[in-house]
Symmetry: C2
Subunit: 210 residues, 2 copies
DNA sequence: TACCCTATACTGCAGCCTGCAGTAAAGTCA
DNA sequence: TGACTTTACTGCAGGCTGCAGTATAGGGTA
């Protein structure tokens, strides 16, 4: 029985459609370019091209370039067909795991200090990604996109990232102000401020812009 | 060798610290209350309490209530200690999987119509969660929080969700306008509009509010 | 009272995915 | 020529998911 194509298979297949790659190149290019859209481990990315060959979506051949032989993968017509079928299926719902939010939800097991630390951690993690994307955009301006004809897609994708990061950073500031008002993490319950907040949220108003 | 406690273990343990639960209750309560913070499958949530017992973080005893016997789990002192140790460790960086964004990144394999469909799917998925949270806030106003003394935590958590959902919905509108300008999904590259966008992003300006 | 259907309360298993440890050849510097 | 680093992977334990399957309790009906 052949393996089943997963979303990760299509992600790698889409890269293969741009040009042929060696296994190593493909894996590392995938880590770079999919990191924000579909983050997968190096380990998985190494096994995907093999699966694609088994599925008939790619071929592999040894290329002798100089001293070292390299295993080169190339997409097949069947692979291109599978790709365009994929674009017409229903997408999976988004899946987000943010441990910092889990900690917030159970922050009454620790101190206000612990919770502030959690918010700092989140800020650091988001900040790193935020900076990286801004720098990437700078490099695009200098003509640094590896597939210039696809710049519009990367940039529209980047607007999503930047918007997310900015929202999260704004929320972190808001959350810091909010917990400053709490005597401890425990037993604040439905105090005045929280009730006002709840009321705004129940009317689907943004509590951050006032 | 005892199993290792994962973040999911602590998530379930934190629920156990609120009150004793039966396995079924615990699993289903966890699905409800962790859905947005730490989404895990029913299957996993069923096996976590057993792991907690093995780790000495919880005890289990059979309770004969009426016709049916129920397996009741309770947290131990060792479990409470493990919980408070967890709150002092570094959080995992956020992990987000949004297939719709992956599709966007490779939208040149399909038509503009396909891409619009992808944005519609994303809007539907986000909209469902968005609505559910707004309704939940309404129920909190009516005194519907199962642990009233913890309302401040749930509500601060909810502000994060609502902010995220609103940002994503705003971005979807923006993206729709943007792709309306494209003749096809392919070869737009660094056109005028995209260059302006890239310039704004490279200066870390929000491209959505103008 | 026997029968059937639904809700409650789980378990086993295949298979995806991750992190880590390990391997081995090619390049690089002393 | 030896030691170290970089390139280029593989194997494996174990976390996690979806799905199929099991078993009992309660409730309606013929």
């Amino acid at each position: 029985m052949p393996p089943r194509a997963t979303i990760s298979s299509y992600a790698v297949l889409a890269l293969l459609d741009l040009k042929p790659w060696t296994g190593y190149e493909l894996t590392h290019q995938a880590q770079r370019s999919l990191r924000y859209a579909w983050p997968k481990s190096e380990r998985l990315l190494y096994s995907e091209p093999k699966k694609l060959v088994e599925l008939g979506y790619a071929t592999t051949h040894i290329e002798e370039t100089g001293s070292r032989s390299r295993n080169v993968y190339e997409i097949t017509d069947k692979g291109r067909e599978a790709l365009s079928e994929w674009t017409r299926t229903r997408t999976q719902p988004p899946h987000m795991e943010i441990e910092a939010l889990l900690r917030l939800l159970f922050a009454d097991h620790g101190t206000i200090e612990d919770l502030r630390g959690t918010l700092d951690d989140l800020e650091t993690d988001i900040g790193e990604h935020h900076e990286a994307i801004v720098e990437l955009m700078g490099s695009y301006l200098d003509g640094g996109h590896p597939f210039p004809e696809r710049t519009h897609l990367s940039v529209l994708f980047a607007t999503f990232q930047i918007e997310m990061f900015k929202s999260i950073e704004r929320w972190i500031e808001f959350a810091r102000d909010e917990i400053e008002q709490w005597p401890t993490t425990k037993d604040v319950g439905m105090a005045e401020r929280t009730e006002m907040l709840t009321r705004r949220l129940a009317h689907d108003e943004s509590p951050l812009d006032d």
